[in-house]
Amino acid sequence: MKLYDIAHSRAGDKGDTLTLSLIPYEEKDFDWLCKTVTVEKVKEHLKDTVRGEIIRYALPNISSLLFVCHHALSGGVTTSLGLDAHGKTMSSALLEMEI
């Protein structure tokens, strides 16, 4: 199973920092996601794009996780040579994770 099957995500950017939300379709899956999708797992999964630290925030009131990934956008939105300088498509990369 992939994360895609049970959760959705939106990517955002601030400078060279990428934000990735992870929101289960069913709120009852939140605790399981918290246990399963650890910072270490996300770090390993996104090792080709995220160079810096990853911080995970849990928001139990809305049953959601937020991953804040530093040094993730090739130096920042405005000066990256990449096609997706904002990292907009990275939400789909996160949801590719096998769980």
């Binding site: 895609y4 099957d5 959705h8 995500s9 939106r10 955002g12 950017d13 601030k14 400078g15 060279d16 920092t17 934000t19 939300s21 929101i23 379709y25 080709d48 794009t49 925030y57 928001l59 009131n61 809305i62 049953s63 959601s64 937020l66 804040v68 920042g76 939105v77 405005t78 000066t79 040579l81 990449g82 096609l83 997706d84 498509t89 990275m90 990369a93 590719e96």
Partner: protein
């Protein structure tokens, strides 16, 4: 005091669609319409336009948006708040007055300035990104401070039905009318935090109502082509009910609201704006009915003592060329093409980037070990110091037609002057908003 106000968001970025704002004003029974049209780099581009022509430098779609809304605004008693002034809010106001005169509309515009701090920027200020002083960057194009609600609040005291700003923090465009109507104090950080949550949810317009959410398999959204933009009913205690105009496309539910609440948030315990450091972790959501979501909770503590200033500088020229290969060994021929172009440009262009579009160009990997795709688009991009050199990159890709591997087609080339953005902090007392009125 009103028992609630309704604020709609008609545009969430400079290039946003025009119709949703018209629908909101015609059928949304709004008190306020906000158009958020200013991204980080937009203002630097606008500043460059202003250098060439002092009467330009405002949002390129301002004229079209105003022409579509102006006939609706005086009737419906909706006040418009927008940052479409970009690098030149005064010229933007003049243009609006001119359009109003042409169409015999009586209108008053309040202009908020003070965000442009290029002339009194300390060259010794250190950038937040690299820690280097600004003077190490060399020539600067623009420097605009993220202002808070102060200037807009002053403008709302006037009779103006259009309030035009340059750089203002996005949520502040929405928070100002709440403070104005409900007499929220500038140090009531709990209320300002709640209002900032609502402003943050609205600021990207269609991203709250199913835009940038849809996936036909897992997240089908009805009526995407006629996607409606959201509004919020805000109550004096900061509680908010989000909605959209019945009959418009899209949807508004817990899923769409959660995605937008966390969008671009780097610390949900401390979301910085010039007005408040807001806490998003205490936000609770409740679906009240179809396309109606209640937002409760949210809070805040203090406000920052310094304001963020976005500084634009000429970074480099970007040169790009693209070509497609298809069929058996498409990837092999694309890789050969990349080697050829790289060799032809060696010594001329540093920082050449090769992307095989279809084979992990955006994520550095494809996450799946399936067969290679049937077709590959090769993209070669590079940074150069001059326009001429940037042009060479696309030219070399084009030359692959007769001087490269077999079967390449569909070449596109592009050059672009890239503006870089860095940020510095300035003490907030050095940034003073100023309000001017213009009338027909």
């Amino acid at each position: 005091m009103k028992d609630k106000i309704r604020i709609g968001c008609g545009a969430g970025f400079s290039g946003d669609r025009l119709e949703p704002a018209e629908v909101l004003v015609k059928e949304g029974r709004l008190d306020y319409l906000v158009l958020e049209c200013l991204a980080e780099r937009t203002i630097a581009l606008a500043q460059k336009a202003k250098m060439k022509d002092p009467s330009s430098g405002y949002d390129p779609l301002l004229e079209r948006r105003i022409r579509s809304l102006l006939p609706l605004i005086p009737d419906k008693k909706v006040r418009l708040i927008t940052n479409m002034g970009a690098a030149n809010p005064l010229a933007a106001a003049d243009r609006i007055i001119q359009i109003a005169k042409e169409t015999n509309t009586r209108i008053q515009v309040a202009v908020v300035t003070g965000d442009d701090v290029l002339d009194h920027l300390e060259p010794g200020l250190l950038t937040l990104e690299t820690g280097q002083p600004l003077k190490a960057i060399g020539k600067l194009i623009s420097a605009n401070a993220y202002m808070g609600t102060e200037g807009i609040l002053e403008a709302l005291q006037t009779e103006a039905s259009i309030i035009l700003t340059g750089r203002v923090a996005d949520p502040s465009l929405f928070l100002a009318p709440m403070m104005h109507e409900f007499l929220w104090r500038a140090d009531d950080f709990s209320l300002l935090g709640k209002g900032t949550v609502t402003g943050h949810l609205l600021e990207c317009a269609g991203q709250l109502t199913g835009g940038y959410f849809a996936d036909p398999l897992k997240k089908p959204v009805p009526g995407m082509a006629k996607l409606g933009h959201p509004f919020a009913d805000v109550y004096p205690d900061g509680k908010t009910v989000l909605g959209k105009v019945p009959g418009t496309g899209g949807m508004l539910n817990l899923q769409t609201v959660k995605e937008q609440l966390l969008y671009e948030v780097v610390n949900p315990h401390e979301y910085y704006t010039p007005d408040v450091i807001a806490d998003f972790t205490s936000v609770r959501l409740k679906q009240l009915g179809p396309d109606r979501v209640e937002v409760m909770g949210g809070s805040g503590k203090s406000k920052p003592s310094s304001l963020k200033v976005s500084v634009g500088y000429p970074a480099f020229y970007l040169g790009e060329g693209e070509i497609t290969y298809a069929g058996e060994n498409a990837a092999g021929r694309a890789r050969l093409a990349a080697e050829i172009v790289s060799e032809r440009l060696s010594g001329l262009v540093q920082n050449l980037r090769v992307d095989l579009i279809g084979l992990g160009s955006v994520h550095g990997t494809a996450f799946r070990h399936a067969a290679e795709p049937y077709e590959i688009r090769l993209r070669i991009a590079g940074k150069t110091e001059t326009q001429d050199l940037a042009r060479r990159i696309g030219e070399e890709v084009e030359a692959l037609y007769t001087n490269g591997p077999a079967g390449g087609g569909g070449v596109r080339k592009n050059i672009n002057e890239v503006i870089g953005i860095v940020s510095v902090l300035m003490p907030r007392d050095q940034i003073v908003p100023k309000v001017e009125l213009k009338s027909t």
